[in-house]
């Protein structure tokens, strides 16, 4: 019983992190039809900025994390304009090549700037202890992650379903050409969505540093993980990403707890089964 509760708690927290990092990837891939292998790089950059702000500038966790988040969003806008815009119209393979190239540059930059060692992010005392619920204790960090995940999915829901920007975004995802004909500035939508996705990835990277440790090679190490969430959830679907991230998070955690010597095989077999049953992803459209 205790094991089951721990699995659920850790798995859901892990799933929330996966969701935050992957949702931007899913939306940009659905919107701009770009296979963006560099997306994990934004999570790494968020963590790297935060680590730097805490160690070199001596800021406490919260301002450092806000700084990291903003730095990534500010950086992502010119990157979208200069590096990504030319590849929107290219085929799948040049996109893979270009975004791998961008990933390499990100890794090399962080490697040059902060070295190749682990970039730790020390959590403040208020977040690192355990909270006593009376019948059992829970790591506080997991609760914060859970809360952040709920806020993110709620915020995204309001943004996409209830605002003008959301209407334009959905129109552009459905058919960018038609949306542009109706007077929607799609390149603005692209840039804003890209920055938002990069920011969410950075948030996930910072909050998830305990589960997915940050170092220069982070984007390559976890690339498959994030892409799996997007593929299983269905391209462009926020709900799909959420369900897929939670399912994969819980499944992977359960496999680690219950069958520690089976390794990652369980994760990949689950992915094969899910994609075999639903090739378009859980919520994807044909």
């Amino acid at each position: 019983m205790t094991t089951l509760a721990s699995i659920l708690m850790d798995g859901i927290a892990y799933g929330m992190i996966l969701f935050m990092i992957s949702v931007g990837l899913s939306v940009t891939m659905g919107l701009m039809r770009v296979v963006n292998l560099a997306h994990g790089g934004f999570a790494m950059l968020g963590g790297a900025f935060t680590h730097w702000a805490m160690t070199a500038a001596g800021l406490p966790f919260v301002p450092a994390a806000v700084l990291g988040l903003l730095a990534v969003m500010v950086l992502s806008v010119p990157m979208e304009r200069v590096l990504y815009r030319p590849i929107y119209r290219m085929g799948e393979l040049p996109q893979v090549l270009a975004t791998i190239g961008i990933t390499f540059i990100m890794i090399a930059s962080v490697n040059l700037w902060l070295g190749s060692s682990l970039l730790s992010i020390r959590l403040p005392a208020a977040m690192s202890g355990a909270v006593d619920l009376g019948f059992r204790t829970l790591p506080t960090h997991r609760l914060y992650v859970l809360g952040a995940g709920v806020v993110v999915i709620g915020g995204l829901f309001v943004l996409i379903e209830r605002t003008r920007f959301g209407i334009k975004l959905r129109a552009a995802v459905d058919h960018a050409g038609t949306a542009a004909c109706l007077g929607i500035d799609t390149s603005r939508i692209f840039a804003l969505t890209f920055a938002l996705g990069a920011g969410l990835a950075a948030l996930g990277g910072i909050l998830g540093a305990e589960l997915l440790p940050i170092d220069a090679y982070y984007p390559l190490r976890y690339m498959i993980l994030f892409l799996t969430v997007v593929a299983v959830g269905g391209l462009g679907s926020i709900t799909g990403s959420f369900v897929a991230a939670l399912a994969l998070g819980v499944l992977d955690t359960a496999a680690r707890y219950l069958f520690p010597d089976v390794g990652t095989i369980f994760f990949y077999l689950a992915m094969i089964v899910m994609l075999g049953l639903r090739p378009q992803g859980l919520m994807g459209r044909a």
Binding site: F104, S109, L275
Partner: protein, 313 residues
């Protein structure tokens, strides 16, 4: 004549490399093996249009099959190549049965998953495969009963280059055949090919199997020349690097696979030895320069340069 000339150039380059870099034969052999591996990817991805990031599944299976065959059955190199080819084709065929129905991102992810699952399986059965220590103790017999594999790697290099030639000629014939044209047609439009009566899934499966056989040969060669098979033969990195090399050189014309492998591995080797900490900058810049300046890959460079000059004039 136009068909023969590139082969003559390739032969000349291979011979020249042998005499100019006598102390780098191990690296040249690795490069030659990588060329064969990227060729297998060119058939699958460049010609038939099957997007994959898991070609290492076939390479690794060929490597393990050839290594185990040499240790337990018969250390003859050519027999080992045949075993590697059959093993690669078999794994491609079996995984292809469900892979060939997927497309796009789903297909990419499934190909990755196949390679990862195989890597875990190889890791689990460590009493057979050696697990993380690798499969060691591969001793090859003389090539054709005559040439001994020497310490400097002269035999290994010449052997690999000969295999590369055979594979190249074979694939040239295949992609020029009606089968090869059907694959190109499938890449352009599956719907149209289906409409004119081509059994699309069966053709794709055949090309994936053939590509798997070639990848298996590359893996077998690697096992024989390094006398070791490690879990890295199934790594995502290997698959991804092969894709980079292929797109770098230019897809669908086979020569691009060779150029891409040669350029990538040379730049990688030189940059990593000059600056072991920041070489990734050089690789990243190279990759980006090719995508933005010559989207067709290095094979498209002459045409692109002609266009630039034309614009100036």
């Amino acid at each position: 004549m136009r068909q023969i000339l590139p082969f003559a150039v390739l032969a000349a380059v291979a011979v020249a490399a042998f005499y100019i870099f006598p102390y780098n034969l191990a690296f040249l052999t690795r490069m030659t093996i990588m060329m064969i591996f990227v060729l297998s990817l060119d058939l699958v991805q460049g010609v038939a249009g099957i997007a994959t990031l898991g070609q290492a599944a076939m390479y690794g299976t060929g490597a393990y099959a050839a290594g185990l065959f040499a240790i337990h059955v018969w250390p003859d190199p050519l027999a080992g190549l045949a075993v590697g080819a059959v093993a690669g084709a078999a794994i491609a065929f079996v995984s292809g049965l469900f892979l060939m129905r997927a497309h796009g991102l789903t297909l990419l992810m499934l190909t990755i998953a196949v390679a990862e699952v195989l890597q875990e399986v190889a890791n689990k059965f460590s009493d057979i495969t050696g697990g993380t220590d690798g499969l060691g103790g591969i001793r090859m017999a003389r090539l054709l009963g005559v040439w001994k594999f020497d310490f400097v790697g002269q035999t290994g290099y010449i052997y690999a280059v000969c295999v590369l030639f055979v594979v190249m000629v074979l694939l040239k014939v295949v992609i020029g055949s009606p089968f090869g044209l059907a694959l190109r047609g499938i890449q352009d439009s599956q719907a149209r090919m289906r409409a004119i009566g081509t059994p699309v899934t069966r053709r794709l499966l055949a090309s994936y199997g053939l590509g798997g056989a070639v990848a298996g040969v590359a893996g077998a060669l690697a096992a024989q020349s390094t006398q070791l098979v490690s879990l890295g033969v199934y790594s995502f990195q290997l698959s991804a690097e092969a894709v980079i090399m292929l797109i770098l050189g230019g897809t669908g014309r086979l020569w691009g696979a060779l150029i891409g492998a040669a350029v990538f591995m040379t730049v990688h080797e030189v940059a990593a030895s000059v600056d072991p900490f920041n070489w990734l900058f050089v690789i990243g810049a190279l990759v980006l320069a090719v995508v933005y300046a010559v989207p067709q890959g290095l094979m498209g460079l002459p045409a692109e340069v002609k266009r630039w000059i034309g614009r100036l004039a």
